[in-house]
């Protein structure tokens, strides 16, 4: 156990935290945009899964990782299109639309995957490698933790301030937040609520899909059934725990990833407790942390309520 405090392990815990959190961060920021626009998209898991599958397919077919990134984004946006159609046009209950999307994505990706490999050996690809940022990556501790990561990791970390800027400093962001708080306020100014919701959900889902794609391209070399393994739910939890604010979500995702990384290292250094307990640690600790927190809810007032004029 004392090993845990050695420098190499501390660096490893922190670096692992960053690796675990970055795919989640893309998806969480995407879901943040979606939910701030008033759409309660429960289909994060399905969107991430589809993004991951699209990335796998394109990576193995073309060998180009950046094309695969694009594919994950497009696949995510398409899932967003489905959600937007269901919620903004058909005004279906947001929960069921999202849960239905998960079901559909789980089935379709597996079906296409099986059709794709058809009994032959599964094609694999070689994913993204770490990029050492010159000079910075040589700084002790911080260097290997922060400046020796996948290229997309840096993008993910940049996405937080970008989303913040988009939401709070851009004209579009003001309208987007207005969708979540009171879409009628836009409607009475003659702006189309549903067009903006489509845009927001597709943008958000594209980022969510990218999160899945990054998970695939950065940390795996193959697709498997249920590849995302419940990370979509963690994203939703992080969004609520982060109180629908970019910084809050960043903190929530980081805290969760840190706990998971810590539990990983505890198991590896041989803590003498059942490994299941260590695996459960992030979930237990998250509940504990949230019990201690209390804040004025930042949940958008009209989140999950289909908007209709008459």
């Amino acid at each position: 156990m004392s090993q845990l405090f050695q420098e190499a392990i501390i660096i490893s815990i922190l670096a692992s935290t960053i690796r675990i959190m970055t795919p989640l961060l893309f998806s969480a920021m995407g879901e943040l945009i979606t939910q701030r626009a008033g759409i309660w998209n429960m289909g994060v898991e399905g969107t991430m899964l589809t993004g991951a599958f699209a990335a796998y397919l394109v990576a193995t077919l073309t060998g180009s990782l950046w094309l695969a990134v694009l594919a994950a984004i497009v696949a995510g946006a398409l899932m967003g299109l489905v959600i937007a159609f269901m919620t903004a046009t058909l005004r279906v209950d947001h929960f069921i639309a999202g849960l239905g999307l998960n079901l559909l994505a789980g089935g379709l990706t597996l079906y296409w995957f099986q059709s794709y490999i058809q009994g032959r050996a599964q094609p694999i690809f070689s994913g993204f490698q770490d990029v050492d940022i010159p000079l910075l990556s040589d700084i002790p501790v911080i260097g290997p933790v922060l400046f020796s990561q996948r290229a997309l990791t840096y993008v993910a970390l940049l996405v937080v301030p970008v989303v913040w800027f988009l939401l709070y400093r851009s004209r579009y962001g003001l309208e987007l937040r207005c969708l979540g708080e009171n879409p009628k306020a836009l409607d009475v100014k003659g702006l189309s609520v549903s067009a903006r919701q489509y845009l927001a959900v597709m943008l958000g889902s594209a980022m969510t899909g990218l999160g899945g794609g990054f998970l695939m391209l950065g940390f795996s070399d193959r697709f498997l059934a249920d590849f995302t393994a419940g990370r979509g739910w963690i994203v939703i939890v992080a969004l609520i725990a982060g109180n629908w604010r970019p910084r809050g979500v960043l903190i929530a995702v980081t805290a969760f990833a840190f706990l998971e990384s810590l539990a990983t290292h505890l198991q590896v250094v041989g803590a003498q407790v059942p490994h299941q307990l260590l695996l459960a640690l992030p979930y237990l600790a998250s509940i504990g942390l949230l019990m201690g927190l209390r804040f004025r809810s930042g949940q958008p007032a009209r989140l999950g309520i289909p908007y209709a004029r008459e």
Partner: protein, 324 residues
């Protein structure tokens, strides 16, 4: 085998049709290696039989039972090979279809006997050899193993791996991790990286994710199938399951029943084929041979020879492996 069809009596069967219930999917090592063994049997034509088969996607519980029943009722299948823990389902069917030979595989099964045969797979001997090599090659004296779930036929390998390592190098320390998930490459990667961070410089990888080894530029070992193609630059060697003796055992038993009229005599206790019987093997990666000093290779060869000759028995230890 030429000529055997003529010699066979008119009543002798010339076809064997197998229904396979998969448990994880053709892309997994567990199921994939079985299909590969069947391919080889098809070419080898034991007893002059044309072997054909049909497999399902992963099915579990009653679904698997239903599929078996459908196969059985169709009357087209002689052997139903249920490739994991399915004895609960076989129990409900085997008396109704006494002519069909049922196969269940691996841990968690119950030895029912009669027309249920229980195939077991132990890859601990190759794992021991890999461990022995690892013990010799490690510089940090620290080795890692990453598994999915602990189970009887996973623990035996991990324990044998470390037993081999200890035999080669008593100073070896071990680190073990289970991710509690069948498919989660990203999570498996983090566990591997964590082990590397604690100083492990050789990893026995049971979850198929070799990316962390590539990045850390360390060597590792593949499991259950030859995983060289997964990562040609890091997979030094793989402990490989070979189902060929199992398949031919089952084919023989079926033949004995069908052609010679003997009654099925399914095993009630685990039966596995050792390395010397071709049940498992070590498949080294020739491209990385340069990493193994000649002296080590000589030791390994000698050890392997003793195992093959039966003069050295690798102990089976199925207790839950822990880091030490």
């Amino acid at each position: 085998m030429t000529g055997s069809p003529e010699r066979a009596a008119a009543a002798d069967p010339d076809k064997l049709n197998i229904a396979v219930i998969l448990s994880a999917g053709i892309e997994s090592a567990w199921d994939g290696t079985l299909i590969e063994a069947l391919e080889r049997a098809k070419v080898a034509k034991p007893h002059g039989l044309d072997i054909t088969w049909k497999y399902t996607d992963p099915l579990w519980g009653d679904d698997a039972g239903d599929a078996m029943r459908l196969f059985a009722e169709s009357g087209e299948y002689d052997v139903i090979w249920a490739h994991s823990t399915y004895s609960d389902q076989v129990k409900k069917l085997r008396e109704e279809f006494p002519d069909i030979l049922f196969v269940v595989v691996g841990s968690g099964n119950e030895g029912l006997g009669g027309n249920q045969y229980w195939v077991y797979k132990r890859v601990h001997e190759p794992a021991y050899l890999l461990g022995y090599a690892a013990g010799k090659l490690t510089k940090s004296n620290r080795l890692g193993a990453v598994g999915t779930f602990p189970a009887d036929d996973v623990n035996d390998e991990i324990n044998a791996f470390f037993a081999g390592a200890k035999a080669a190098n008593p100073a070896v320390e071990r680190t073990v991790a289970f991710i509690e998930s069948w498919y989660d490459p990203a999570k498996a990667g983090e566990y591997t990286k964590a082990q590397i961070a604690t100083g492990a410089d050789l990893i026995f990888q049971l979850t198929g994710n070799f990316k962390p080894c590539e990045e850390a530029k360390i060597l590792c070992f593949g499991n259950f199938q030859d995983q060289k193609s997964f990562s040609p630059s890091t997979v030094l060697s793989s402990a490989v399951a070979q189902w060929d003796p199992d398949v031919s055992w089952i084919v023989d038993e079926w033949w004995a029943h069908k052609a010679e009229g003997k009654s099925y005599q399914g095993n009630t206790d685990k039966r596995w084929f050792a390395m010397k019987d071709g049940g498992s093997a070590v498949v080294p990666n020739a491209d990385l041979q340069a990493n193994v000093p000649a002296a080590v290779q000589t030791d390994l060869d000698a050890l392997k020879a003793r195992i093959m000759a039966g003069s050295f028995e690798v102990p089976v230890d199925v207790s839950d492996p822990k880091a030490k």
